[in-house]
């Protein structure tokens, strides 16, 4: 049985302008110890998906339908009290901005030990000792003294490490990392990713890595989901995805990566994808990428009907009427 199975998740936000379909039919499954990467641009629904699983969607949002089976039990049907027991203990989550994710008026030590005492019922001393161990595990020097410090005495990278320490403190089976390195410098980023990798291996922990950076995905994930406008548009193993992307959007994302090597390095500009994602308030019943799609034209069915997510090859799913492998025959733009 998979550790986590999400089935047809729909999460909508009720706003004055209408109901925003932030997540519109997302499904995936994750095995123990594996890492799933969720990629997409800002606003595509990847964070909301994670929050939906955790039951942390802020109002005016709510999960409208779908299931999130964690070890066979549907999280979306659980009461808040039960979820409180699961969060932090079985499933942990770390967030994007470390500068604001810690309470400025409580010591770091307090913020670590409160989790330990809540879930593992440790005594104060036991919790303190464990907290020091955790800080050492995430390579914070002078761990014992640092426990008494307040967050403002930590740098961004260190705070993110503390967040990781807190997340891992009760040995969760799944860690959801929502853009953990986006707010950090590139050099710090590498360190944090390396740390995550090590800890994952040590604790045999499954992970969901949410990011908009293809490079991060490549480095961390076993399998990748590409999201666009609230839907999954492509899903495959990492290698497979980078080697033979099928969806035009995935291709565009990969093409937008700055090239460091290759014959065109001096001549190519940074390509961006013109246009914006569609308005999610009443999304068109068609492929949502259609108006930015290089291959779509007005007569195509995909401008009227939403393409299904189909398995093009074993383990490789695409939601498009113009997958790359079916395109090779016809010349571009005819």
């Amino acid at each position: 049985m998979a550790l986590l199975e999400v089935e047809d998740l729909h999460t909508y936000f009720k706003t004055r302008a209408g109901e925003v379909h932030a997540v519109d039919g997302v499904s995936f499954s994750l095995e123990r110890g594996k890492t799933l990467g969720i990629v997409g641009e800002s606003g595509c629904g990847k964070s909301v998906t994670a929050l939906s699983i955790m039951g942390l969607v802020p109002p005016p949002g709510r999960v409208v339908s779908g299931r999130a089976l964690f070890e066979g039990q549907d999280l979306l049907q659980r009461k808040s009290r039960e979820l409180e027991d699961i969060r932090g203990r079985e499933i942990a989550m770390i967030f994007q901005d470390p500068m604001t994710s810690l309470n400025p008026t409580l010591t770091i030590g307090m913020q670590i030990t409160e989790t330990l005492r809540r879930h593992l019922k440790l005594t104060r001393d036991e919790a303190r000792k464990r907290a020091v161990e955790l800080l050492e595990e995430v390579r914070i020097p002078n761990a014992a003294q640092r426990l008494r410090d307040y967050p403002h005495r930590y740098s961004g990278g260190m705070r993110q490490r503390v967040m990781i320490a807190i997340a891992l403190s009760c040995n969760p089976k799944l860690l959801i990392a929502d853009e953990p390195t986006t707010a950090l410098d590139v050099t710090v980023q590498a360190g944090v990713l390396a740390l995550l990798r090590e800890l994952r291996e040590e604790h045999d922990m499954a992970m969901i890595m949410i990011t908009h950076d293809m490079g991060v995905v490549a480095e961390t994930s076993d399998e990748v989901i590409v999201m666009y406008a609230g839907q999954v548009v492509e899903q495959a193993g990492t290698f497979e995805l980078f080697d033979s992307p099928e969806h035009p959007y995935t291709e565009a994302l990969l093409a937008a990566l700055p090239q460091i090597e290759g014959e065109d390095v001096r001549h190519s500009r940074l390509a961006s994808i013109p246009g914006r994602p569609p308005d999610l308030i009443s999304p068109p019943p068609a492929c949502r990428f259609a108006d930015r799609c290089v291959y779509a034209s007005l007569e195509d069915s995909c401008t009227r009907v939403l393409p299904e997510l189909r398995e093009l090859r074993p383990g490789h799913f695409v939601r498009t009427a113009h997958p790359a492998s079916e395109r090779a025959a016809a010349p571009v733009g005819s």
């Binding site: 942390l56 409180e84 967030f95 604001t100 994710s101 809540r118 879930h119």
Partner: protein, 315 residues
């Protein structure tokens, strides 16, 4: 930290001097003011006392100097209309009453205002929130005198049978506690609404913060999140908001003491103005100013203690 406290405390001295100066200048401009040597509106014996006390034959800056010295040695001069009474006497007699009234009002404001704000914030946009906010809004938009008179009207007149509360008067003894209730509620009503609003706003803002989301993701019980994470961060701004409340209390006390016939310095201040007892007026103004300045100082220091960020120099 200590440096902060000392520096802040030292600043109050020039401020106090300035305030006394302004009051002094204003008092001198008042027509019919016996501080001006030419006006003779006061009985001869007192006038002589005044001249001695305030050195009225000296140039004004000397007078000012003597007055300041008087303030710091707690000698504010004689009353102008009451023979054999100094301003100090007046203050000594009436200030404790106002102090007690003010404290009771503050306690009422905190006891009712803070929980009201907390509940409204936690149950935002529900009927509880709307009702309490309506109550609160009604509280601060209706003038003090109206609240006071309505309290008397309902609790002391119409429903006297049940409550047994007197309409006015003040008994400073402990068993006169019945006389304290209505005035304290009337005076504390506006500050209560102030607290409620500030606390509510502060909590709502804190709830939006990322670290609350983190706390939820850690699986902490909601009760703890609210009790520790939310309240600690929200109440700090509420504390600093308490400082301007003193102004509310002072202004309110004038009205409330007048309506309830309470012998406090608020009522005495008003009487001294209409009765032209200007040394009392001046003395009370100076006293109130000093109280406000000191209160502001204390709040600043308290804030420094509560928010660890102001304690540390930037690393």
């Amino acid at each position: 930290m200590l440096k902060f406290v000392v520096r802040r405390a030292l600043w109050t001295i020039p401020v106090i001097l300035l305030v006394i100066f302004l009051t002094f200048v204003m008092m001198r401009e008042i027509k019919g003011n016996p501080f001006r040597v030419t006006e003779r509106a006061v009985p001869a014996s007192i006038q002589r006392n005044l001249e001695r006390k305030f050195h009225l034959d000296q140039p004004w800056y000397v007078q000012y100097g003597y007055y300041v010295k008087g303030v710091f040695t707690f000698d504010l001069g004689p009353s102008l209309t009451q023979r054999n009474q100094t301003v100090n006497d007046v203050i000594k007699e009436h200030f404790p009453v106002s102090l007690r009234l003010g404290l009771l009002a503050m306690i009422w404001a905190i006891l009712i205002g803070i929980p009201l704000g907390v509940i409204s914030a936690l149950k935002q946009n529900t009927i509880v929130d709307y009702l309490s906010m309506t109550f609160v809004n009604a509280g601060y938009t209706l003038p003090n005198f109206f609240i006071a008179t309505m309290l008397i009207y309902f609790f002391s007149v119409k429903w006297r049978g049940w409550t047994g509360l007197p309409t006015n008067g003040w008994d400073n003894g402990l068993d006169g506690w019945r006389t304290w209730i209505l005035p304290a509620v009337a005076l504390g009503h506006a500050p209560m609404t102030y607290f409620a609003r500030i606390v509510r706003g502060s909590i709502l803002e804190t709830l939006q913060q990322d670290y609350i989301r983190t706390a939820k993701a850690k699986g902490l019980r909601w009760r703890r999140i609210v009790g520790l994470h939310v309240l600690r961060n929200s109440l700090i701004p509420a504390v600093t908001a308490a400082a301007p409340l003193l102004g509310f209390l002072i202004a309110g006390s004038f009205i409330v003491e007048t309506i309830f016939s309470i012998p406090g310095i608020g009522r005495y201040f008003v009487n001294s103005v209409t009765g032209r007892d200007y040394s009392v007026t001046m003395g009370i103004t100076v006293l109130l100013s000093i109280i406000i300045i000191v209160a502001n100082l204390l709040v600043d220091i308290a804030y420094g203690f509560l928010d660890p960020r102001t304690r540390d120099p930037r690393t």
